[in-house]
Amino acid sequence: MSLPVPLSVLLSTDRGSLRVTRALRGLTFRSAVPGGFASAAFSLDRPLSISPDEIAYYATVKVSDARHGRVIWEGRLEDPGRSSGSDGQVWELAAVGSAAHPRDKTVPRTWVDQDMSRLRRSGFSTPRTSRADSTDLDSDNDTPAVDLTFAEGSTITSVAPASVVDVMYRTIHDCGQLLGRVRVDVKNGQADSNRQNRIMTRIGPNGSGVAAATAVWSTVAGSLTCSRGGGNDITSGHDVANIRVQVTAGGSVTAGVNAWGEFWGFVVRSLLKDVNGNDILTGYSADYVTTAEVVTDMIGRGDLYLVDPSTATIDTSGTAQVDELAFPTGVTPAEVLETLMVYEAAFYWALWESQPNGKYRFEWKPWPTVPRYDADVSGGFNSPGSAKGLYNQALVSWVDWRGRERTTTRTTTVAELSAAGLTRTIFVDLGSEANSLAAAQRAGDQALAEHAVAPNAGTLTVTKPILDRSAGRTIMPWEILPGNLIRVRGVLPRVDSLNVTARDGVSVFRVTAVEFDASTASAHLELDSHPLNVAQALATLARRRTRPRRAGAT
């Protein structure tokens, strides 16, 4: 390849489009996973005294390959910088890629919630005769529960208005969503056919309630369940759930010491949408959501309003059972996706080029297990190497529903650490977002899986065409995409390197980012993880989300 780099750059605003390829001073662009098209930088010589039509905040930038017209990078201009000096009048332009879109909106969302602290005594409860207490299950102090009690010695009645002890869950309503599933375990202090445990649902906190699930009082533990499309169907449009004990027959009686119901194992799921925004009205039998369901719902709900649903790739092979995913105070889709990657560490998300409808192509998919690219080290290879990333133990911290700091330890075997006789512990802080031991354990296991093999955190420079095995053709350095595996020749050759099908950190690496510089016509690939430099550390700190921590409950 000894010709001009065949890339062309197009700037578009609502005032017009202009190809500025020949007027550029330099061009660099970067793509990374998770995210997709990340950033670009270039400068133009334009007078500062006027506002060029093609330079404006959020102007579309498209870098295309002149040989085949495919978009290589796409994004939007940020606030352009301007300077005037010995080089003339120059507009310094930086563009942010489609990866920035998931940070555009902040919305309250709840997909699955087990937080019983969100159950509050409601106004439906009969005054003076009812009491609702947050507690632990009487047989297990590690399990949160809510006791609904008719006060001993009080007169309770089935005559309207019947005696009720009621707690309300309205977080789904507050998030603007609808109920998909509600379930709870229950037992009572006494068996009584004149009294019932109920799940009520309604539209809004003051709407008319419908008894979606009922069971007479029993001292034997049981459960109440209702779900859209299930045997106990939730009425369409309902978004508030009430858990209650109620006197249903037998007139007026005096409550005894065992006039209570204890509820635990509370799970609420919201109604999901498909990618086209249609409500999914069946399939709510599980007490968890999958990562694919959450991603699909965000697209259908419009949280990722610039994602093209027709071209979105949402891989459903993930096995994670997410049993707590609630952000009632607001969250960006980017933060949700990052949380999902904690549960599904082998997955990533990315937004790529726009489609004819102006929306971006989206991917939620696992890292491949087969190398896509073949390259060598002739252009330059740097792997500082560090055992810093190896861990054989994980300490996961989370705050449970009572505000208690909880931890759990997970372990795995790492040959290098075992041989050295070392135990290294990685700390995973889930804040209040893991409401169960199972979720915390899974997060710990995922963290250990990611740190079982030494990541190289290295860079590879590619200056010539390389083979793209998935397409059966050679590609140029600027066409290399992150989110794929690359086999690198010339690095610690081993007989079994040709047979390696997954990342081994020796000759097969993940391509986590690619940065192309048109002035050198070379692509710099970041391998396995982002390189250890100040810029990356600052970027990581800036993106780090402060996980909410609930206050301790009494």
Binding site: S12, S378, F381, L467, G472, R473, G490
Partner: protein, 468 residues
């Protein structure tokens, strides 16, 4: 006749002369010191101690510097000062055109940038009536020749047409390097269309595997050839129909070892488009390509599935990019420079109908060269212009009005371009492909024709020979 050096107002056989610099009366161009060197070549060089030598990832010509040694004379010092002033005014222009004809048949034109005289010295007389000056004029890398306008061509929208089937050939290009072009339509509007213009500028373009008719492929599951339909390309049974008795993903068409004849020209990257027609608009039908080695063996490359658009007219659909030969390709035999012939792969079209009840008609697959220059043009919905212009020098595609011989910019609905517009290279047959109505909601009829006129400006590294 003496050489001519002049600033002119345009690249034309009869330009208006802004300043004559070798009239041998006032201005004289001196041989000693005057230079018209070719433009220097900038290279990116990548080298490490991991291998001998270095890689040249890219190179590009830099601006050229024309050095003129001029003398100016006049009856009085005021006359000389006035002459110098006219020169400096021309040099001060942000852009200018310098015509140079060194006793050759035709001039070349340098597009110059703002400059100043390097130095001005008196030629031995202190009365100011003769002066010598040297000027380094910065100019674009290539000198341009007079525009060459080729005969109008009519390009068919039917890839099976006898003449100019979705492409036309341009040869005998003058110049040293690839020349910028201006292509405009004389009839045939790109109104609200997406148009693809691609090029193949090496080897024998006849070896390019451009068209693969569906009826020429082996018919697969639930797929048979159909009697002639004028809306489809080709003669006789000219398309295939899949009835989806088995609606799940299956091979509907395949062709082994295509193109049949191994050739150097078959090598390349291709952007594959298929022409499909659904019988029921709302059906959800997905198609994808698969490639493999001869005999359908491994490795098999499966391209991403594409959902066909709605509508019951035949439409062009992008199926992805492939390379021939598939997989690893050394191109040449060792260091010899002898290109190895590429064997045609096994090509397969799969399809599934995930919703609906209708059929799928398949007309053909197009293999559009995508390793040279390819532009994807989107034109707006404006019925006023009578011309659509593709201007590779100004990097623009735009609608225009042609009044007589005068082209006027319409300034109407915006169009945008991905990729690069065509340039024509000397010493080869330039095959220019034109595929219209891609992604058109109303379809891409085979009856489309487009009349085009191509003009190019030969580009020279040095000066222009008589005929080339």
């Amino acid at each position: 006749m003496p050489s001519s050096l002049r600033f002119v107002d345009q690249i034309s056989a009869t330009p208006a002369i802004r300043l004559e610099l070798n009239d041998l009366t006032v201005w004289r161009l001196h041989v000693d010191g005057t230079e018209f060197p070719p433009p220097p070549l900038r290279r990116a060089v990548a080298s490490t101690l991991l291998a001998d030598g270095a890689q040249i990832p890219a190179s590009a010509y830099d601006l050229r510097t024309v050095r003129l040694v001029l003398s100016v004379a006049g009856a009085t010092a005021d006359a000389v000062a006035a002459s110098l002033q006219t020169l400096f005014r021309e040099l001060d222009r942000p852009v200018n055109i310098l015509s140079w004809q060194q006793e050759t048949t035709n001039p070349v034109f340098f597009r110059t940038f703002r400059t100043a005289a390097d130095k001005v010295q008196d030629l031995g007389f202190t009365d100011g009536r003769r002066k010598l000056l040297a000027v380094d004029v910065l100019a674009e890398p290539f000198a341009l020749g007079l525009p060459e306008t080729l005969a109008q061509v009519t390009v068919s929208g039917d890839p099976a047409a006898a003449t100019n089937p979705m492409y036309w050939d341009v040869s005998g290009i003058k110049g040293d390097v690839a020349a910028p072009t201006r292509i405009y339509t004389t009839t045939g509007a790109f109104l609200n269309e997406t148009v693809i213009v691609a090029m193949r500028r090496r080897g024998d373009p006849a070896e390019v595997p451009f068209l693969l008719q569906a009826e020429a492929m082996d018919q697969g599951t639930d797929t048979t050839t159909q009697a002639n339909d004028a809306a489809m390309s080709g003669s006789g049974n000219n398309y295939s129909r899949c009835t989806f008795a088995t609606a799940t993903l299956a091979t509907r068409l395949d062709k082994d070892n295509w193109p049949v004849t191994p050739s150097v020209g078959a090598r390349g990257t291709y952007r594959v488009y298929g022409r499909f027609r659904k019988s029921v608009s709302g059906d959800t039908i997905k198609v994808n390509l698969r490639l493999g080695n001869i005999g359908g063996g491994v490795p098999v490359y499966t391209m991403a599935a594409v959902t066909l658009p709605s509508g019951t007219t035949a439409k062009m659909v992008d199926l992805g990019m492939i390379r021939i030969p598939v997989g690893s390709d050394p191109v040449n035999d060792g260091p010899s420079g002898t290109p190895l012939k590429a064997v045609g792969p096994w090509v397969e079209l799969q399809a599934e109908r995930t919703a609906g009840t209708g059929n799928l008609d398949i007309d053909y697959l197009l293999f559009i060269p995508a390793d040279d220059r390819l532009a994807v043009l989107k034109f707006g919905n404006d019925s006023v212009p009578n011309r659509y212009v593709l201007d590779s020098f100004n990097d623009l595609a735009y609608p225009a009005l042609l009044s007589g011989s005068e082209m006027r910019v319409d300034g109407s609905a915006d169009s945008f371009t991905l990729g690069d517009l065509p340039t024509v290279a000397p010493g080869v047959t330039n095959r220019i492909y034109l595929i219209r109505a891609v992604d058109s909601p109303t379809g891409s009829p085979v009856s489309l024709t487009t009349d085009l006129v191509l003009t190019y400006w030969p580009a020279y590294l040095h000066i222009r020979p008589a005929s080339t």
